[in-house]
Symmetry: C2
Subunit: 234 residues, 2 copies
DNA sequence: ACAAAAGTGTTTACAATACACCCATGT
DNA sequence: ACATGGGTGTATTGTAAACACTTTTGT
C-alpha cells in the first residue's frame, strides 16, 4: 500500500466447501457429504467444481459464500468460516484470466438438510468419493477443508452446528463419529462434553424413542471464546 | 465460477505482519516487535500501516508477502504463513477503490534480525505498544496475528523459526516466554520439548557462557506433520 | 569456594481411557 | 420380561505441574 496500484488483470472469486451429514449409500453409516457443481463451460468444462463465483463489487466475502450456498442448495449456513485464499499464478492455467479464490467452509444443520433443493448441475458426494479430478485445484481444497474440519472438531464445539437447537448427546456423538470416522466411547464422550460446559440441559427429554428417552440439550452461549475469532454467523 | 465474471472494481493487496524478538526498551525483557510503515499519501496519510502493497499480476501471494518483507526490513522470512483475507466492503471507506487484503505473518530469526536495515518511513514497535489507530483495519489484524501466534506456539514447533540453526533449550524457552508473556518452568519445559521430538541433540555444547555450558540442539526434520499444511518456506 | 545456570528425579494432581454395571422405556 | 440404548461409577493409566536436588562451568 505504498505505491500506486497498477491495473490488475485477475479475478477475485469466492468458493465454499459445504459439509452435510448423510448416511452412506452402501454402509448406511453417517458420513460427510458436499455438493459440487458441474461446469458447463471452459475452462474445465464438464468437470465438477466447488460452488462459488466471482466476488461482486458490493458483496462482503462471507456474503458471497452465503449466496453461493443458497444458490446451489437453497440453504442458509449455520456455521461459516474462512478457510484459505488460493492465488498461485499457475493454479488456473487454462482460464482466460488469473483467478484468486478465497475459500470458505460451511456446515449444514441436519434438520435443514431435508429441505435442501439442489439447483441445476448440482450433486452431492461423500467427501471420500468425490468424482475427481475436480476443476482448478479444488481436489486440494477439499482435502484441506476436510482436514481442517476434523482438526477443529476436536478442540472447538463446532460439531453443534450440524444439529438442531435441541439434541440428545448420542446425536452429538454420532456427529463426532461421522466427522472423525471412528467410534467413540459413549460414557466418556458424555463426560467430556458435559465437563466442557458447551451444552446445557433443557430439562426436557426426547419423546417417541425406541428405548429410554434421552435428555435434550442445547448448545451453551459461547462464554467468550477467549481467542478472538473471525468467524461469521448469519 | 458459474457465471461470466463481471468487471470488478477493487484492488487485491497483500500485507504482512512481521514478528521479531527484541528486548523491551524499558524492562529489558524479550518481547515481540513488528515493523510498521508510515503512509505518505491518502487515504490514512501519516498513519502507520502494515508493510504490503498491491498484488502484481505475475506474483504468487506468498511471493508478494516476501517482497514486502524484503523491502521494509531487508530480511528473508524463515517462516511465512497466511493469516486471513480481509475484504469487507466498508473496510477502507476513504480509499478510492475497494481493497481486499490477504494478510500473511512472518517470523524473523534472531541472529538475522541484527542485519535488518529499515527502509524509509519504517519503524519497529513492541506489539503491545503500536502507535494506533493504524491505517485501515490494521489494528484488528495485528491483534488477530498476535493471538494466532500465541495459540500456534503452544501446539506447533514454530518457535524454532525465531532461532538460528543451533540453539540451547534455555534460548528456546526464552522465545516461548516472550511470545506467551509468562515464565515457564525450565525443567518441565525441557522435558516437554524433548518428548515432542521436535529437536535433536547436536552432541556439541555452547562455548563462552558465564556458567555451565548448555547442549546445542537443532530442530528435527518435520517428521511429516500429519495434517496437510499449506505453509510456505523460502 | 561460590554463584548461577544446566540438567535430573520425585511427588502430586488431574485428565483420558476402559469397562462393569444400573436405569427406563417400547415392544 | 426383555432387548436396547441412556446414563453412572470406578479402576487404571498417562500426562502436566511443582519443586527439591545434583552437576558443571566461570569467576
Amino acid at each position: 500500500m505504498t505505491e500506486d496500484p497498477p491495473v490488475q488483470h485477475m479475478v477475485l472469486a469466492v468458493s465454499t466447501v459445504i459439509f452435510s451429514l448423510r448416511p452412506h449409500p452402501d454402509t448406511g453409516e453417517l458420513t460427510l457429504w458436499l455438493p459440487l457443481v458441474r461446469r458447463i463451460r471452459e475452462p474445465f468444462k464438464n468437470r465438477w467444481a466447488l460452488p462459488g463465483g466471482p466476488l461482486q463489487d458490493s458483496q462482503d466475502l462471507g456474503e458471497a459464500a452465503r449466496t453461493a450456498m443458497r444458490r446451489t442448495t437453497g440453504l442458509q449456513p449455520r456455521h461459516l468460516e474462512q478457510l484459505y485464499a488460493f492465488g498461485d499464478v499457475d493454479r488456473s492455467p487454462d482460464a482466460p484470466e488469473r483467478v484468486v479464490s478465497i475459500v470458505y467452509w460451511a456446515l449444514v444443520r441436519q434438520d435443514e438438510d431435508a429441505h435442501a433443493v439442489d439447483a441445476e448441475n448440482v450433486a452431492w458426494h461423500p467427501v471420500d468419493e468425490v468424482p475427481g479430478p475436480l476443476a482448478f485445484d479444488h481436489d486440494l481444497i477439499v482435502r484441506y477443508a476436510v482436514d481442517r474440519l476434523r482438526a477443529k472438531v476436536t478442540y472447538s464445539p463446532i460439531a453443534h452446528a450440524f444439529l438442531p437447537a435441541e439434541f440428545a448427546l448420542a446425536e452429538l456423538r454420532r456427529v463426532y463419529e461421522a466427522v472423525l470416522n471412528r467410534a467413540l466411547d459413549p460414557s466418556n464422550f458424555r463426560r467430556q462434553i458435559l465437563s466442557q460446559g458447551t451444552v446445557e440441559d433443557t430439562g426436557r427429554r426426547m419423546t417417541g424413542t425406541a428405548h429410554r428417552p434421552p435428555r435434550l440439550y442445547r448448545s451453551a452461549p459461547q462464554s467468550s471464546r477467549y481467542s478472538l475469532t473471525i468467524e461469521e454467523s448469519p
